[in-house]
Symmetry: C2
Subunit: 227 residues, 2 copies
Amino acid sequence: MVDRIRRIPEATVARLPVYLRSLAELVDEKIATVSSERLAEMAGVNAAKVRKDLSYLGSYGTRGVGYDVEYLLFQMSRELGLTHDWPVAIVGAGNLGQALANYGGFTQRGFPVAVLVDADASKVGQIIHGVRVHHIDELPELSATLGIGIGIIATPASAAQDVADRLVAAGVASILNFAPAVISVPDGTSLRKVDLALELQILSFYQEHRDLESDGAPPHQAPLAPG
Amino acid sequence: MVDRIRRIPEATVARLPVYLRSLAELVDEKIATVSSERLAEMAGVNAAKVRKDLSYLGSYGTRGVGYDVEYLLFQMSRELGLTHDWPVAIVGAGNLGQALANYGGFTQRGFPVAVLVDADASKVGQIIHGVRVHHIDELPELSATLGIGIGIIATPASAAQDVADRLVAAGVASILNFAPAVISVPDGTSLRKVDLALELQILSFYQEHRDLESDGAPPHQAPLAPG
DNA sequence: CTTCGCTTGTGATCATGTGCACGACCGGAG
DNA sequence: CTCCGGTCGTGCACATGATCACAAGCGAAG
Ligand SMILES: NC(=O)c1ccc[n+]([C@@H]2O[C@H](COP(=O)([O-])OP(=O)(O)OC[C@H]3O[C@@H](n4cnc5c(N)ncnc54)[C@H](O)[C@@H]3O)[C@@H](O)[C@H]2O)c1
Ligand SMILES: NC(=O)c1ccc[n+]([C@@H]2O[C@H](COP(=O)([O-])OP(=O)(O)OC[C@H]3O[C@@H](n4cnc5c(N)ncnc54)[C@H](O)[C@@H]3O)[C@@H](O)[C@H]2O)c1
């Protein structure tokens, strides 16, 4: 493969974290090498796809043997940018924002919650899971000081676009949106969304259609989104 | 279009809830008709895609005029199976499970939390947001009695597969998994996942690559996933 | 009744993603 | 040194999805 001409397809990027998790499990089990077949089973995809996906990272496998688990884990972490932490800012210290702040899993995976911000003065000053709530007007300084890389929107939908604009203005170029609203960001900013109601409605669709006709509505394994 | 030969593409199904939300906003604003262009802008997609997506539902538009908002909303709700409620069971009454139960948005959109179940005896009997926590062994009866249509997994990853198996055994054919684990379900069962750490890692990838090279890494608007 | 501007519905084309099949290559055995 | 079982890397064909472009059809105006 010609080095550096590889632009990794979006669909592949979305699967890398799944492989990463599988590799982490293998490390825990002290397994040194793994075949594409085994990895495919763990990740819930097919083996050819695993090989093609991994080939975008480089030729890290050994024919007849498989992949060295630790080496592949390292290379993948590097590619995903997980060799350093990404401090996160959560906007909206309500029900959801607090639950996320209380969850230890993010810090553990390299995404420490560095700060919470809210527009409601009565929330400012509260300490949640060791993190102080600041006023949203302080976002630009906080962002610079703490090196915020990712912003999470956990406000009502009506405020989501405004919050996104503020995050972008504060230099945050990666946003994860939990509010059920379509928001737009300038080029050069990444935006992903998590919409629980939408997921339930999709499930509703397939369920309803299974119930109606007893035909072969495709058993629906979630694709990732490039999504 | 030949009626009933329409099998709606997965990518389209994943966008229908977004159109639905847009239509609901238009109803609130008392707007009677809408063009594909306007709807596209609200949903954050392009107009041709809107028209093609809607055409799978049938020919509900009027050339030269647009779509009747209320009529389209009704047809879409029907197609998505939202003309009736889908009682939900949340498995795992921990941090996340409780936050979800406390969130009113689901009931409002037709997905009432009918029951919480947990394996931890000390949680059983608690009332959260008016919903009682039951032991997971009671799942089969609860499912039948309450007419559970969708199960939400909010347990640690290690328990996710077991919980999924129990849900399937209890007759729940649609599952939304929040645990960071790959789980498998039999044909005829729908499975979708929401993995926050995975979303953050994807953002990390694009951010890192923007930082490294200053090239045109595609501004990344989340696709849905059938994700 | 005819014309005209507007918007839908859809065939055609292009882009992306998936899966198969097989040659390339490795390491160990004889 | 040669052979051989095993696994990777990838070219190719197919499936799905996105986008374009335009004829068809509607409603209003004259
Ligand atoms: N709670 C859940 O389980 C859940 C589940 C799915 C989706 N959501 C979505 O997540 C979002 C938050 O939900 P929630 O339950 O935490 O709501 P919430 O009302 O409890 O909290 C919202 C917080 O945002 C703050 N806020 C409002 N406007 C703001 C602004 N302009 N700038 C900064 N902060 C602002 C409010 O002060 C409040 O603290 C909503 O969009 C909701 O639809 C929540
Ligand atoms: N809390 C968050 O914000 C958050 C965010 C992202 C992902 N998650 C994921 O969601 C899941 C739950 O997170 P949490 O913070 O609520 O954890 P938690 O430990 O607070 O709650 C887990 C609950 O599941 C119950 N449980 C364990 N095994 C069970 C079984 N076999 N059957 C039924 N119930 C069982 C436990 O008794 C506990 O009440 C985890 O997989 C976590 O990674 C949580």
